[in-house]
C-alpha cells in the first residue's frame, strides 16, 4: 500500500470535510493508499509544505495556492471539495446587524484567518465598503494559531468572550456561535446573503503539485482497472 500525506489548514470543520471523511471512511485505503492527515495552519503554509515536498496533497482554499506557487506555476487542482466561497460573517447578537447587511461591519473588529480574510475584504470592497474610511478592522483570532486548534471554534470562543465584534470563518464556527447565542450569521454567499459574484472568489479544493503528478500519477488517481472497491457497500 502506498503512503500519502494530506494537509488540511482547519481540521474540526466542515470546510474540507470530504477529504477528512475519505480518510476516515476508508475510501483512500480502497484505492490502495494509506493516507494520513496533517493540520497545517494557516492555509498558505500547507501549500508551502506541498511545494517543498513535505506533503502530497492539500485540502484547502483554491486562492491560497498563489501564495506558495506564484502565478500558479507548479500546482494543480484535482477536484472541488465543494462549490463556492464557504466562509460566513458572524456578528455579535447584541449588535444591531441584520442578515445580508454588509454595513454591519462598519466601525467593527472582525476576526479572520490569513488569506481567508482576503475573501471578506474583497466582498466588502465590491459591496462599496471602504475599509479605512468606514473603520473596519480585520484582525487575527486570539488563540487560533495554537497547535491543534480549530480556527472556527477558536473564533466562536473569541466572540463569546467579547474579544471580537464578529468573525469570518467556517460554518462549524458559525454554528457554535449561533447555538451558543453569542453570534448571528450576517453574510453567507452560498445562501444568498452577500454579493452573488463573491461565490466564485475561491472554493475548497483538493490540490497537488505538478511534481507529485509526474512522480506518482497512480497515487493521484489509481487506474480504474486496479481495485473493485467501487462495488462495495459505501
Amino acid at each position: 500500500m502506498s503512503v500519502a500525506r494530506v494537509a488540511v489548514p482547519d481540521f474540526v470543520s466542515n470546510s474540507y470535510f470530504p477529504a477528512i471523511a475519505a480518510i476516515e471512511l476508508g475510501f483512500f485505503a480502497r484505492e490502495g493508499l494509506d493516507v494520513a492527515h496533517e493540520l497545517i495552519f494557516p492555509n498558505y503554509k500547507a501549500y508551502e509544505a506541498l511545494r517543498d515536498g513535505k506533503i502530497d496533497f492539500v485540502a484547502g482554499p483554491a486562492h491560497a495556492v498563489f501564495r506558495a506557487f506564484p502565478e500558479w506555476e507548479g500546482a494543480k487542482l484535482l477536484a472541488a471539495l465543494a462549490q463556492g466561497m464557504y466562509w460566513l460573517l458572524v456578528m455579535r447578537t447584541d449588535l444591531a446587524a441584520t442578515a445580508g447587511d454588509v454595513n454591519a461591519v462598519k466601525g467593527r473588529t472582525i476576526g479572520a484567518a490569513p488569506l481567508v480574510d482576503q475573501g471578506l475584504k474583497r466582498l466588502l470592497i465590491d459591496a462599496g465598503v471602504d475599509l479605512d474610511r468606514d473603520g473596519v478592522r480585520i484582525v487575527g483570532v486570539p488563540g487560533a494559531s495554537e497547535p491543534g486548534v480549530s480556527f472556527g471554534v477558536a473564533a466562536a470562543k473569541a466572540l463569546e468572550d467579547g474579544k471580537l465584534d464578529g468573525f469570518w470563518a467556517n460554518a462549524m464556527g458559525a454554528e457554535n456561535a449561533v447555538r451558543g447565542g453569542s453570534g448571528r450569521v450576517i453574510l453567507d454567499v452560498r445562501r444568498g446573503l452577500g454579493p452573488p459574484a463573491a461565490f466564485h472568489y475561491t472554493m475548497p479544493v483538493l490540490a497537488t503539485s505538478d511534481h507529485v503528478i509526474e512522480r506518482d500519477p497512480n497515487m493521484v488517481a489509481r487506474p480504474a482497472c486496479a481495485p473493485s472497491w467501487r462495488l462495495s457497500g459505501l
Binding site: F17, E24, F28, F66, L77, A82, M172, E175, M203
Partner: protein, 87 residues
C-alpha cells in the same frame, strides 16, 4: 482523488456518516454538530471545477494582489483527471 469524490457521494447518500467521522476525530461538542453543518453543504458537494470558477478565481486573485495575471484553465486544473469527476 476518486476517494474524495466517493466520500462526497457517500455523504450525500447518508449524511449520518458525518457523525461517524466526527465521533472518531472531533471533540464531542463538534461531533454532535457536524452532520447538521455538512447537511447544509451537500447541495454544493460537486467535484467539478468549472471555467466560471477559474475565471472568478483569477479575477479575485488579481484584485487581491495574489496574482499579476490570469492563468489558463489548463494550468489550474489537472486536465488528465477531470473525467473522474463524473466516473
Amino acid at each position: 482523488m476518486r476517494a474524495v469524490v466517493e466520500a462526497q457521494r457517500a455523504l450525500k447518500r447518508d449524511v449520518g456518516l458525518a457523525t461517524q467521522v466526527g465521533e472518531a476525530l472531533f471533540p464531542p461538542a463538534e461531533a454532535a454538530l457536524i452532520a447538521d453543518v455538512v447537511a447544509r453543504d451537500l447541495p454544493y458537494y460537486d467535484p467539478t471545477i468549472s471555467e466560471a470558477a477559474v475565471a472568478g478565481l483569477n479575477r479575485f486573485a488579481q484584485e487581491s494582489g495574489l496574482a499579476q495575471r490570469s492563468v489558463s484553465y489548463g494550468q489550474v486544473v489537472a486536465m488528465e483527471f477531470r473525467h473522474l469527476w463524473t466516473a
